[in-house]
Each structure stands twice: as C-alpha cells, then as structure tokens.
Symmetry: D2
Subunit: 351 residues, 4 copies
C-alpha cells in the first residue's frame, strides 16, 4: 500500500480525494491537513466521511517533516501560490506531489505571471508533468511532481483534441468553447455569487475574457495541434452542484467538409478507443452532466451542422472527479504503475 496524505482536506477537492482513496485498493490515507479545522476528526468536518474508515483521522496543521515521515505521496488541494510553497517543501523531503492548484500547470512563465502574478517556485514549474493521462501518459510514469489539470480545461481539451489531432478543425476559425460549470467549481469559501439564492434558478456568463483556465486550454490545444490555436472560451455558471459541459464549435477543414454526424462520431470514437475513462455516445445522442456525476468518466457526443458548416462536440465531466480529484488519482495511478482505473470504478449516480 502506498501511503498518501491530503493537504487542504477541508475544501471540496480534499473531501473528494478522501472519498476516492477510501475505495482505492492500493492507497492508504495516513494524514489529512487543513489549517482551519486542525484538531477535529474528519467526521466532524464532513459528516458524510464518518461512513468511511477514515472518519476518526484527525486533521493536522501543516508540518512538512511529519508528513514526509507518515506518507509517500501528498495531494495538495490548496490555493495557488500556497501550493507551490508547500510542494517545494515536500518534494525536498522526498515525497511525490500531486498538486490540484494551478501553480504548476502552465509551461510559460509569462502566461503564469499574466494570470496569477509572480510564481513562488519557478524552478519547479518546468519540471512538473501535466496530469492528463490521455495527453501525457508517458511523461507521467514515475513523475515526482504532477500538476492536475483544471476542470474547464479537462472538459474542453478532451472534447476538442480529436478535432485537432485528426485535422478536422480549421485552425484559422479556431476553437470556440462555450462552457458551463456547476457551482461547486467555485469552492467552499463563501462568496455572494455562490449563494443558493444567487446562483440558483438562473444562469449567466462570467469572466468572458479573463478566466484563468484560458492559457491552460490554449497550451494543451497547442500541444495537440502542434500549432497555436485561436481560442474563444466563455465560462458560465449553472444552477447545479457538480458537472461541466463544454460545447465546442469548429469550422471543418477541407478534409472534414463531407463528414456527417455518423462519420464525425466514428472518428472521435476511434480516437478514444483505448481510453478507459472517455466514452463516446452513438450518433443522435448528446451527453448530460448527470450521466457522469460522481464518476471519473468523460462522456462525449458530436454532431455536424451541415446547413451552417460547423462541427459541434459536447463533452461532460464531473468537475470534482475527472475535473479534479479523480483525475489526480488517475494520474497518480500512472505515476505509480498501478492499474490506471484502480479506485476509480464508481458508477455515475443517476438520477
């Protein structure tokens, strides 16, 4: 059993990590860290975790030496900035780190600075591996520092990747991603915009031009396309707790001009044939976020708008699982050489 710690356990991604580790055959949770609730048992912070064997585990304050003594791997569910500082201390002491913040996701220092400010551990930034196994599986094996991807990024990149990899999307028209997220994506820190009375029963776009996931999506699309991709990315807040839906639009290349819906779906399905967590729906079906709730799956549907000449791909994930904690576990499985699906067999909770 590999001993793991969860740092920042009081946030949603932290709690979700505990849920997943509790059912993982190769991981043992040995420490949980959370500043605001230190001293309490996990079950007092999250009563639903009282049903796991970790309910009595006491939340600790952060202590790098103590963590290194009790665990081999640390998951970090911390705000950006803080994550880099903590990661540096833990790596130094020989631990592996899977960081769920944005600190190590961007290859470009310039992009990081533009969207987040000065980096707290620039020397580590380039050594991190981007934790999306579907795009970086080989780099992940035996990695010391994994940057788990953002939720919007995961849904968008998994949806758009086949269009770019297969040369179906015209790069001049680019990729337009109209994305919709559940409210848990905003985390557990109280804010007016995340209140039930504000976010419920309504919908709106936000941060139309400045969302921090934008450079990350651009980076990964460029990785797939082998060239810069013109991207418009508009996030929206939806009155649901979990789930991200990315509706992706592209103009077909000459090579794709004659594809109909069945042909497009077939190409995408073939592209993902061997991926354990990506499923492609048959032609005529489109995915709902409810179809993946609580699971690590990404579900994709596609259609061709023949009248207007556009390719449309819809991609859904659970933002807290495949968009955060589940993908972090999946990446760690690859790092450790465990079966990639270990501990991730949760069937979606529907309805």
């Amino acid at each position: 059993m590999v001993r793991v710690a969860v740092v920042g356990v009081t946030g949603y991604t932290g709690a979700e990590l505990v849920r997943l580790i509790a059912g993982h055959p190769g991981l043992e949770l040995t420490a949980v860290v959370g500043r605001s609730e230190a001293g309490k048992p996990l079950a007092a912070v999250y009563p639903h975790l009282a049903t796991t064997r970790y309910g009595a585990l006491v939340v600790q304050a952060f202590d790098a030496a103590a963590l290194a003594a009790s665990a081999d791997v640390a998951f970090l569910g911390l705000p950006h900035g803080a994550a880099a500082e903590h990661a540096a201390q833990l790596l130094e002491r020989g631990m592996r780190v899977v960081d769920l913040s944005a600190d190590f996701r961007l290859r470009s220092e310039e992009d990081f600075r533009a969207f987040y400010g000065e980096h707290h551990a620039p020397s580590l930034q380039k050594s991190a591996v981007y934790g999306m196994p579907e795009l970086h599986r080989n780099e992940l094996r035996d990695a010391r520092l994994v940057a788990a991807p953002g939720c919007y990024v995961t849904a968008t990149v998994l949806g758009a990747a086949p269009l770019l990899a297969l040369g179906l999307a015209d790069l001049r028209a680019g990729i337009l991603a109209d994305c919709k997220s559940g409210v848990s994506g905003a985390g557990r820190t109280p804010s007016v915009g995340s209140l039930f009375a504000e976010a419920g029963e309504g919908m709106s776009p936000y941060k139309v031009d400045a969302h921090r996931h934008r450079p990350e999506i651009e980076q990964e699309l460029r990785h797939v396309a082998g060239a810069p991709v013109r991207l418009t990315f508009v996030p929206h807040l939806v009155p649901m707790t979990r789930g991200i839906l990315a509706t992706i639009y592209a103009d077909p290349t000459d090579a794709a001009r004659d594809l109909d819906t069945a042909g497009l779906v077939e190409r995408i399905a073939a592209h993902y044939e061997n991926e354990p967590f990506v499923r492609v729906l048959p032609p005529g079906q489109l995915p709902s976020t409810t179809m993946v709730r609580g699971s690590n799956f990404c579900l994709i549907g596609a259609a061709v708008d023949r009248r207007a000449g556009r390719l449309i791909v819809a991609s859904v994930i659970d933002n807290l699982v495949k968009g955060a904690s589940g993908q972090a576990v999946q990446a760690l499985n690859v790092v450790l050489g465990l079966p990639e699906t270990a501990g991730l067999g949760q069937v979606p909770l529907y309805p």
Copy 2:
C-alpha cells in the same frame, strides 16, 4: 376596456397571460378556454390565480361563436396546427388573434413544411405580422393576426440584431448562438425529459441540428441584415424553471476590428436607446437570467475577446414573459394603440 379571451389557458403561457392581464389597465379578461379542464374555475386549475379577480372565471370548451360574442381579441396558447385552425375560425368572426404558437411565424411555406409539416391555414400564413415590436413595430399597428415570437428567437435576435444592423458582424463567419433555456420552455405536458429528477442538477444540449426555432431565427436575422446569415444555433436545457440566455458569437467586420468592450457596449446601447424593454448593462457586467425573472425585459451585456478577435453578446429574457406571454401583450398594446408598456410594469423578482 378591450375584452380579451385566452384560449389554451391550462398551459404555462396561458396562466402567464392571465397574470399579466390581471394587472393590465386596458384589458378585461372575459373568457378562458381549455379543453382538459373545462368546467372548473381558474382557481381550481391554478391556485395562485385565486388571488386575482379572475379566480372564479370558469374554463370553457372552445366555441368560436361564443368567444366572438364575449371578446374582441383572442390569445391562442395552443399546439401548432391546432392554433391555425382555431385562428381561422376566430378571424372569420371578426376577432383579432394573437397566436403564441409557431403556426404563423414563418414567412416561407417551405420552411414551415420542413420543420412542422403541412400548414393548416396557408392563406393566413402570409398575412400574419411577426409580433416582435423591436423589429416590426409599424407593421403591428392595427394588425388582425399577430404571430408572437418563439422564446429562443427573441433572446437570440435581440442580442444579435445590433451586430448585424450596425455592420459589426462578418456575415461569412456568421452568428453562432449557444442558447440555454429553463425547463418551463418545454411546457406543462408531462415528459420524462422535463421531470425534476431528470432535468435537475444537470445540463445538456439537445436538438443540435433540428430545433424548430432555427428557421425563425434565420428569418429574422436575414430581416435585420438584409441578407442571409449563416447561423449555428445549439439549444441547451438548464436546471431552472424560467429564463433563456443566448450567448452569441461573431467575428468582427473590418469596421469593428478596433472596437473594445466599452465601444461595443456603447454601440449596442445606442441602438436600443428608445426601446422600453431592452436594457444594456455597462461594460464589465454580464446579465443573469435572474435579473429579468417575471418581467418583460431583455437585458444585454457584451464584450470583445481581443486575443481571439471575437464579439460576444449575452442576452437574457424570461422565456414565459418576453419570450411568450409578455411579448404577446406588448404586441397587442401596439396593435391597439395603447401605451406599449401598459400592464407590463412588473419588476423582476430577484432573488
């Protein structure tokens, strides 16, 4: 007082018409028709209407002669097909008709046939006036037959119209409308997809290539642009009862290439300066459907994505008010020469 009847009162648009007529200074509701609940007082069908002066009005079966004797104008909240048949009978007897179905919205017989099948009153189809005062105010004056617009159409066309009318949007790239609707848009007839347990806590696209509002949007965009407009329109179902959000994307023309967000907002605001029911938010603000709930307003926000070179407009309405019953009343106000805002002063219900 103009005497009005509501035919098809048991659906949501019918109930909403009663709510609006109850507060209208120039309309008197004299008859309500609804096949499935005939014989019951309105308050038994819709307990919330017990609080109006019309709670005791008894729902009748349809009888054209009786209606013509008791009312001057009929609102029709019927399924398409049925609407055309009923409208013909009422127009013959000298009534004015405001039809909320799709039967008279399309100018092109061919489009109608492609999306709805054979028309039941083709001779009337061309005489109807499209009931969106912002685009057809002059034609509406004294009209006998008004085709109240579809909900998706209203949000999309009001959002896209300034881009086309002012020559800001490149017609070759066209208009891409990613639309999101509350579940009441599916009506009150039970279906699996509209169940709370199915539509709640999740989101999905649907009818990606075949939604019936598509030819109607194309028709009205062409009306504004003076030329055919390439349109991609993808509707989505959102877990909220009321509201439509249209997120609209366009590539700038050369003339618009240098616009920033402030400039774009200013142009749109000037375009709608004299419209009583369209409000444009200041730069940096984007609309939520909650900001118009229960009211006849359309709220618009806009931004320029400079990095990718795209114009973005977000437009919200309450699908049952500005998207249906409220716009029908607004159109009737124009028809009758009443103040256009009469009876439509409801302040949005927020939160």
Copy 3:
C-alpha cells in the same frame, strides 16, 4: 405621496422593499442607505432594479438628519442591535420607523435578553407595535414604530391562530410547528451553509431548540389564545430560494373532536373571511410555496387525521414578501390610513 427611505438596501429585504415601493401608488422612494455600497447607484448593486424608476438613486451612508429631511418614513433592514440604534435616532427626528429586524418584536425584555442579549433601546421596546395587521390592525393605526414580524412567525401564527382563537386546539398538547424555509431567509451575507453546493439538493433541520423566532411565536400564540401555549418549533432548510411552509399539528379539544376536514376548513375560512391577504384552500387541496411566490398572500390548507385524532394545518408565504417586506408595506398602509392592499397587488409568479 408619502416619502420613504430604505435603510439597509443592500440586503434582500431592502431590495424587495424597493421592488414593492416602485409599484406603490402612495409611496415615493427618496433615499436608500447601505454602508457597504455607498456611492453606487441602485442599478449597480442590483441590476434588476435598473428596470424601475429608482435605478439611478445613489446609495448613501447613514445620516439621520439628512434622512429626516428627505423622507417621512424609514424602513430598516438592518441586523438586530444596529436597528434599535438607528431607529432611536430617526424617531427622535420625527420620522416613523418600520423595523424589519427583531429588535422591537418581543414584549418581554427577559426573552429578548435570553435570545439576543442586551437591548440597545429598551425604552422603545414596549412602545413598538407588532406589525401583523391580521392580529394587531387597530394598534397599528398611526403608530410611530412598527416591528415587522419574523418570517417563520408569520407563517406559523397565521396557520395556528384559528385553531387557538376558535378553541379547536387542546392547549396541553399544544402546537407543534414543523417549519420549512427557503435559503434566502438566511440573507445575503455569505456563509458556508447558504452556499448552493451545501444547501442545494438536500434538506436538514437546524437550531432545533434555540431558534430566535421561538419566543416571538410563543408571544403571538399566547396573544391569540389568551394563555401560554406549549410550542415545539423545528425549522428546516429547504433547497428553494423563497418560501416558508409551516406544517402545524394540534390535538383537538372536545369541541373539535367531531370535525372532519371539510368542517375544519370551513371554520378556518370563516375566521379569515375578511382578510385581504389570507386565502384558504378548499378541502382536499394543500398549499405549495410556489402558489404565493413573489406575492403578499398567505395560503392555508387543512385536514383532520381522524385515525390518529389530530388537526393539521399547512400555511405558506413568500418569506421575503408576507414574511418581511410585503408585510412591512401592508403594516405601513394601515399606519398611514391607505388602503391596506395598496402596492401589494402582485400576482404570484407561477411556475
């Protein structure tokens, strides 16, 4: 026109007061006060109010003298404690005050101290009139200081009052009120418990033995019964924005032992016959909070459980209207000698 000010306009009850005043024929809003947003126009704080004639009104910091110069009446939507202090200053300057906090609701200093701590204006506490017209209409006429009732109190007392007033409920068994509230009742100040991701899709009881509305309910039930009433009151949080449902249980007195549902409903309906804002549903129908949303109505249904020998009354209100701002306006109408329903004709927004 009576000039009114809203102090504490940035909270939900403040915004709701503006909505109601905007449609009130006898009130003119001349000042809005709100510490956290001073200097901004109302429309910037609440975009939905941009549709009213008050959108450009600028939020001010509190200044008693300036308020007294510009308005005759002040509504206070402030936290308890602060309300008493502000009320004292405004009353001194000759204004009438309608306070929506708890500061002046309790007649008993001891109860106040037990649930809220030391009172900030004890001399005023006894002079205030409890602003529920159905119970205190005569005392309200020309009152200087009105204590608008709590939301749970309104739903519970209006539901239980007929049972007590008509001698139907056994006082030894008392009144058991299982109450359910929408999340807007917790206000607009962010807290973990009010987050969409926490309060959504779930339900729980809270403050089972210590909710601050308890002594207020006891006070008003005692007022109706003419004797102390044994009360159990358990509040629950429900995933809806607006609405309170009080399900009320009592054991029948000997006089009520033979009542069936029809008889019970008839007695309650007769009790409220002349009340403009209380409606009683026919036997066999039970109220939903959706039937009163956005309106000042209280809707009541009742049934007799013959098998177990219990009377059951269900009472619903919109917590922000009849449970707060609407009832405050209703009380002010009585104070000022205006028609009690002035400005309160909103038809419930359904669905």
Copy 4:
C-alpha cells in the same frame, strides 16, 4: 457468484440496482427485464450504465422460464399488483424473489385491501419476510420471498424505533412523523406534479391522511413497541432528487422525562451500536440528506426540547438506496449469508 435478474429495470430503482450489482463481489447480473424498452441495450436506456460491464446487456420482455434458467434471484421493481403476479411465477420456478413493490409488505390483508385493493397472491402475502435487516435480520436468513420496505417507512421506523424499543416515547401521545421526500420517490413515469417547473423551487405537503406508507409504518412501529402506536404521518415533496428526511416527534415517558439531548443521543447510539448502516451524530449535530446521498446509510440526530417537553429525532436516508435498492441488496446479502455490507461500500457523494 449468485446470478441475479432485475425485472423492471427501466425505473429508477431498477437502474439503481444495476449500479449496485455492478460493484458487488458476490452477485452477477445475468438478465434485465423491462417491457417498454425491450430489445435495447441497457446503455441506450441509461447512458450512465455504459460505464459498467453491463452496458451491452439487452433488455428483455418478461419470460418466467427464461429468467429461471438464467438467474437464481430476481429483484422486482414493478408497480404493485404486477409485482405479486410476477413473483408468484418466479417463486414457482424455484427462484428467490426480492420485491421492491408494496405487494408483500403488509401482514394484514385488510390493510392491504384498504390501501391497494384486492391482493393478487394472498397466499404468498403472509410468507414474505419484511426486508429491513435492522428489525428482521433473523427471519431473513434463507428467505424465499423478501418484501423490501418503503422509503418513508425506512426513514421513519429507523428514527422512531429506539424511542419505542427503549420505552422513551409515551404511546398515548404517539409518534408524529413529518416526512420530506425528494422527487425521485415519485418514479420515472411522467406526471405534472413531478415536472421540474412544478416541483422545483417550492415545497408542499400531500396525501396528508391517505399515503400508502402509513399502514406499513404503523405495522413496523407496532412490531417494535409491542403495542399499537398512534401515528400521524405527513409526507412532503421537496425540490431535491434524492433523499428522505423524517422529523419525528414524541412525548417523553416518565422514564425519559429527565433526559437531555446528550442523554437521548447516547441511548440511540447504543441502540444502533452494531448496525453497519445506521450512524448516530453527536449531540448538537443534525443530519442533512446530502450526508447520505448515493449510499446505503441512515444517519440519525436527536435533541430534547426541554421547554416544551418533547423528544425530536431526525433520520435521513437516500430514498433510492437505503430506501429501496440498497436495502434490497442488504436484505439479499442476509438471505444468502453473504457479508451484510457486500457491495454497499459507496461513500456518500457530497456535495
């Protein structure tokens, strides 16, 4: 591996059974039956099940002989009436049956007739074992026909049982259960009341005096108390998909008069000490339905209202798991002599 079939797989309890069986180490799903979707693979009916190894299993029409050949045990998720008929045929052919309908839950033929009409297999009615292991564990071992309990019954009986078993509740005052259910309890058959636009954002009581779970609750409370128990049971519909909350009120017996909250909680916790699926929260905490979502746990909190002299217990379950399919699997585990928790290790999905 025990081979099991799910009859009535297209309903929510059927789909939930497949989810649970997919993760069960001792059960193998060999057949799924569903009239309305016969011929389709499971994944076409429920896309979320495409992620399990049973996605390609084809839905069949009912054929008792074929089922008996392919499976040892049948779960029945059918409407009452139909269930009895199907059960009889399968039992005859030597299968074990776990029936999730109401057909075999009531011991009293008279009660069955009063609430459901004539019984379709009266000879079997008395031989069935009521499938709540916490109350009937010994009777369940090796049973041929199990009647899985109703959802309201499970939450109410598990909450009230300790009060009755320990002699804490006064039988004359009886048990008052104010119950709240999510909308999935109404099943997947479309009806107006279950529509998102109707059930969303509101709350109401229903079937105050005639809900079919009433005689079942009375039967099981009598079983625990050893005497008839006066019961008032009022169900409410809550805008959430999953979950039942039973808030239970009782008057203390003399023996319980001096209990405070800590004492009451301690007694209940001791009562359930060895139950694998019942958890009792510490004093001061009350359960939310979100704390058990997707899991087979029942979570209980309790408090004493000293001022009024009442005991209050709050009990939550997931209506589709512990209230239906999960409890059915738990009961089958007992029947088969498997570990009672086999396949039921799902951690609650929170948030």
